[in-house]
């Protein structure tokens, strides 16, 4: 139990900052550039942790809480999510509800921290973040229900356990749709193109980046680290649904998982390279489409 916990946290803390590096490298290759090294994000975090802080005079303790919760939530949530075929350290009946509300906690704290600065730009980002979540959450619930119905369990580690492979034999069509929907949820929740552009410096088009305009130094490092971990935790669900194999050897399984995560990051990089950001008012329509798609996958299962 303790070793599993340590292994899980080790993978989380060590692997998470690699993913933004892989995405960046992919985008650079598509753009014909050499790009920053894979480990750039580790260097960035190290640099930011060593810096001082500039804090707005308008802010209160809420402003400092946002980044902290933003890091704490993915750490706790990761304990419920299996990494590949490595089972999660914790698993309870109905823990998927808890995990979804954990991410709501981080959204609450990040958005209020943004509004705490009193800046119109950050208010804009906060409003967008909380509004789009209204449409992402039903899609996430529907997708998870498909998996729950296939595996007959409501705890994430069992839902994404060995029962999933049998599910692929019986209901492959539903699972493919679920995979698409979950991938869209990962893109929305992690503020990637086509929903949000993590690189742009036009504040009017951003969501997540505009919320953290006033954070600096160690606080900004916490935010970046938390965001990378969130990508890892939510991405782990997608990777597990896509590759539900169990090789029986822990080292091999871990290797498959890490390769899967890198593959996911490359896929995100490819999408960011070949797609433009959606017009802001199109995003809700796109998300409603995703909800319908996930519901359709359920109907196929119920029939």
């Amino acid at each position: 139990m303790i070793t599993r916990l340590f292994l899980h946290l080790l993978v989380l803390f060590a692997l998470a900052p690699l993913l933004p590096g892989v995405i960046g490298k992919t985008k650079a290759l598509f753009g014909g550039r050499k790009g920053a090294p894979f480990l750039q994000h580790y260097f960035n975090l190290w640099k930011l942790f060593g810096k001082g802080l500039v804090i707005s005079r308008t802010t209160t303790w809420i402003f400092r809480t946002g980044p902290v919760v933003g890091l704490a939530v993915p750490v706790i949530a990761s304990l419920f999510v299996p990494f590949g075929s490595l089972t999660a350290p914790l698993g309870f009946n109905g823990d998927m509800i808890f995990v979804i509300y954990l991410f709501a906690l981080s959204r609450f704290c990040t958005a209020t921290a943004a509004l705490d600065t009193g800046s119109a730009f950050e208010g804009m980002g906060a409003a967008r973040e909380v509004t789009f979540a209204c449409l992402a959450e039903p899609a996430l619930f529907f997708s998870l229900i498909v998996i729950a119905r296939l595996t007959g369990s409501l705890s994430l580690t069992e839902m994404l356990g060995p029962g999933l492979l049998a599910g692929w034999h019986g209901a492959a069509a539903s699972l493919i749709l679920v995979l698409v929907c979950l991938f869209v949820v990962v893109l929305v929740e992690n503020c990637r193109i086509p929903f949000d552009d993590p690189n742009t410096h036009l504040e009017l088009t951003m969501i997540h980046e505009v919320m953290v305009l006033d954070h600096s130094g160690p606080d900004l490092a916490l935010i970046f680290y938390g965001a990378a971990m969130k990508l890892l935790v939510l991405g782990a669900v997608v990777v597990r649904v896509a590759i539900p194999v169990n090789l029986g050897n822990q080292a091999l399984d871990l290797g498959v998982f890490i390769l899967g995560m890198i593959g996911l990051a490359v896929l995100i990089g490819v999408i960011e390279s070949i797609m433009a950001r959606l017009q802001l008012l199109r995003i809700p329509q796109f998300l409603i489409g995703t909800i319908l798609l996930s519901f359709f996958s359920l109907i196929m299962l119920l029939r």
């Binding site: 001082g52 802080l53 500039v54 804090i55 005079r57 308008t58 802010t59 209160t60 400092r64 980044p67 902290v68 919760v69 890091l71 704490a72 706790i76 914790l90 309870f92 009946n93 109905g94 823990d95 509800i97 808890f98 509300y101 954990l102 709501a104 906690l105 959204r107 958005a111 209020t112 509004l115 705490d116 600065t117 009193g118 800046s119 119109a120 730009f121 906060a126 409003a127 967008r128 909380v130 509004t131 979540a133 209204c134 449409l135 959450e137 039903p138 619930f141 529907f142 229900i145 729950a148 409501l154 305009l213 160690p218 606080d219 809700p284 519901f295 359920l298 109907i299 119920l302 029939r303």
Partner: protein, 651 residues
């Protein structure tokens, strides 16, 4: 109860001495509530029933009292909130003059007394008497500030809506009494083998009558009018407790009726989920903080009705475990909502007290000026959003778990219903987050946008203290969910036999949520301390970065309407969208532009007000009866006596 009654009488008598009047009125309310709380806790813990009956001279009536675990389950939060509300109220009205305090205490004590009597009554006449008393006393509390026209209008809407509901209740009890031959609740058990049609009529009457008091969609119109108008601790009491007495009464009536067919549950859950979506949608567009909270009550009541409806539906289709989960979820949410909604209303009251406004747009920067109130209000906002580590999650977990159980276990397309409900509930939950982030972010943080907010002062000790107690209870419920789950599981067994065994033997009760909540809190503290140590080296204070604007002012920050604009533009239907006028600058050198944003209630405007107007027009024709001449009234009394004598002679 005696103490409450004495308090009610003593307060206005002592009206000439404000301090003594407040002390007597609120002090006796505290004492009475404390005694009631102890009695309710005793019944809940031991599972015993207190029952006694005194004959009354009125025909059909008796002073029959029955406190079983179901009643005690509703009495416990009732007395708790009345107790804290009285303490809060004594701080809130500290500057009021003697007669006003006396009047207020008189109605407050009577309201608590009548609500308790509604829950305890075991006779239809006594119940209706207490029910009317509750409506009238709360009406007088709503119009405490009757010098203001909007308050009078709100009170009028309230009394009309509540009496429409009461009319259905009179019909319900008279029909039931005619069928069983007695108006005692004990005899109502004879209704168990009614024909389906008659039982259905009784159910619809109960749903309409009690639903209008509970704020069930589409009978909710009085809530957003009355709650902002009332003093805040009264809003807390009405929103947290009074609407629950109606849910109690509905559960009581359901226990008399034959086993519910599936359509009863279906109707309740459709109205419930519609109310949830409508309530939270409207809450997101209100700029009045207390109106927004009132709509959030409509949403929460909707969720409770949805869970209760799903309970009946699942029971009718023989999915007993699913039904038990939904019932436990509804009961938990009833308790949780009592706690966090009273906390939020009291917090809104403190903001009103400190900053002098209920308009979110005129607030801002209040967390710096009212740090303790702000902290407690944020705790309430997190609890209502069902975020860990607070109590709201425990209740919502049960409701979700019940729906998911249905979604997994129901065969074929029958599973689509709970699955759709899960999706809608997730959407409601995410909208609650929008509403609460808006209240915290626009109201409490940023820079003050008005002089009132800039000069705001912290609330006094009694107000902060009673809020702190509720906030601690919310936290305790989240960190030690056994405190909530165990009594609820026991009470679920008395409502639906077998439910508590099913729940206890399932091994899936979420006691672990408490441990996880503690984990979340510890980890947050750890990272907080860690990052503080790291950041202690260099820290500089600067103004918020204006993205290139050199002189940003508070007027440029996000407003309450702006925050929810994206939401209502993206997914509201036209009739719910606020009506916006002006705001477009015209011509090359635009002058002053006025922007108006009106988020009125569609149902009140389009359905109820025309109805009220028609009824008013009809009633004004009967004005001739009220001539104001004493002789005429004496004649009426004489006529009524003659008719009564004639009736007796015929009997």
């Amino acid at each position: 109860m005696l103490s409450l009654l004495i308090g009610a009488v003593a307060a206005p008598v002592l009206g000439r001495w404000p301090r003594r009047s407040a002390l007597a009125g609120f002090g006796l309310a505290v004492l009475g509530s404390l005694a009631g709380l102890c009695a309710a806790a005793l019944v809940l813990l031991t599972g015993q029933t207190i029952a006694f009956s005194l004959p009354l001279t009125l025909p059909g009536a008796s002073f029959a009292i029955l406190v079983d675990p179901l009643a005690a389950f509703f009495l416990a939060p009732l007395f708790l909130i009345s107790l804290l509300g009285a303490i809060y109220g004594s701080g809130y009205l500290a500057k009021a003059d003697g007669p006003a305090t006396g009047r207020h205490c008189f109605f407050y004590n009577l309201l608590v007394l009548s609500m308790a009597l509604v829950v305890c009554a075991a006779n239809a006449i006594l119940f209706l008497f207490a029910w009317e008393c509750m409506s009238l006393t709360s009406f007088f509390l709503v119009i405490s500030d009757h010098q203001e026209a909007p308050v009078r209008r709100a009170g009028f809407t309230y009394i009309l809506a509540t009496h429409l509901g009461a009319a259905a209740l009179f019909a319900l009890f008279l029909l039931a009494g005619a069928k069983t031959g007695s108006l005692d609740f004990a005899a109502f058990n004879g209704l168990h083998d009614l024909p389906p049609l008659f039982a259905g009529i009784l159910f619809l009457l109960a749903l309409g009558g009690f639903g209008s008091k509970a704020g069930l969609f589409p009978f909710h119109v009085w809530l957003p009018e009355a709650h902002p108008a009332a003093p805040s601790h009264v809003s807390a009491l009405m929103s947290a407790v009074m609407v629950k007495t109606a849910i109690y009464a509905l559960l009581r009536i359901l226990s008399f009726l034959p086993p519910a067919p599936a359509w009863w549950g279906g109707l309740m859950l459709v109205l419930g989920v519609a109310g949830g979506l409508f309530g939270i949608g409207m809450a997101a567009t209100q700029k009045d903080l207390k109106r927004s909270l009132a709509y959030s009550t409509v949403e929460n009541v909707g969720l409770i009705f949805m869970a209760l409806g799903f309970w009946l539906y699942a029971q009718a289709t023989h999915h007993y475990f699913t039904a038990a989960l939904a019932l436990a979820g509804a009961l938990l949410h009833i308790w949780n909502h009592c706690l966090f909604k009273s906390l939020l209303f009291m917090g809104a009251g403190s903001l009103l007290h400190g900053a002098g406004t209920r308009d979110l747009n005129e607030m801002g920067g209040l967390l710096r000026r009212m740090p303790r109130t702000g902290l407690l209000l944020i705790a309430g906002a997190m609890a209502v959003t069902a975020l860990p580590p607070f109590n709201g999650l425990v209740g919502e977990w049960f409701i979700y778990r019940g729906l998911l159980e249905g979604g997994i276990k129901f065969q074929g397309l029958a599973a689509a219903l709970p699955i759709v409900l899960v999706g809608l509930m997730a959407m409601i939950g995410a909208m609650v987050l929008v509403v609460m982030v808006r209240i915290v972010g626009i109201g409490l943080s940023g820079e003050p946008r008005h002089q009132g907010a800039a000069a705001a002062h912290e609330a006094n000790g009694r107000m902060v203290g009673s809020m702190a107690v509720i906030a601690l209870l919310c936290l305790a419920g989240g960190l030690m969910p056994a405190l909530l789950i165990n009594p609820v599981v026991a009470v679920a067994g008395t409502i639906s036999p077998g439910a508590s065994d099913l729940l206890q033997n399932s091994g899936c009760l979420p006691y672990w949520i408490g441990g996880m909540g503690i984990g979340v809190v510890l980890l947050i503290l750890l990272i907080f301390v860690g990052s503080r140590l790291l950041a202690s080296r260099q820290k500089a204070a600067a103004p918020t970065w204006g993205c290139g604007f050199l002189f940003p002012t508070a007027r440029m920050s996000y407003s309450a309407e702006g925050f929810s604009e994206l939401a209502h533009r993206s997914f509201y239907c036209d009739c719910l969208r606020p009506r916006v006028s002006g705001g477009q600058p015209v011509a090359l050198l635009p002058g002053r532009v006025v922007f108006a944003h009106d988020a009125g209630d569609f149902f009140l405007q389009a359905v109820y007000l025309p109805l009220f107007r028609t009824a008013g027009g009809f009633c004004s024709r009967m004005r001739g009866l009220q001539s104001g001449l004493l002789q005429i009234y004496l004649f009426y009394i004489f006529g009524a006596m003659t008719l009564l004598l004639g009736w007796l002679a015929l009997d």
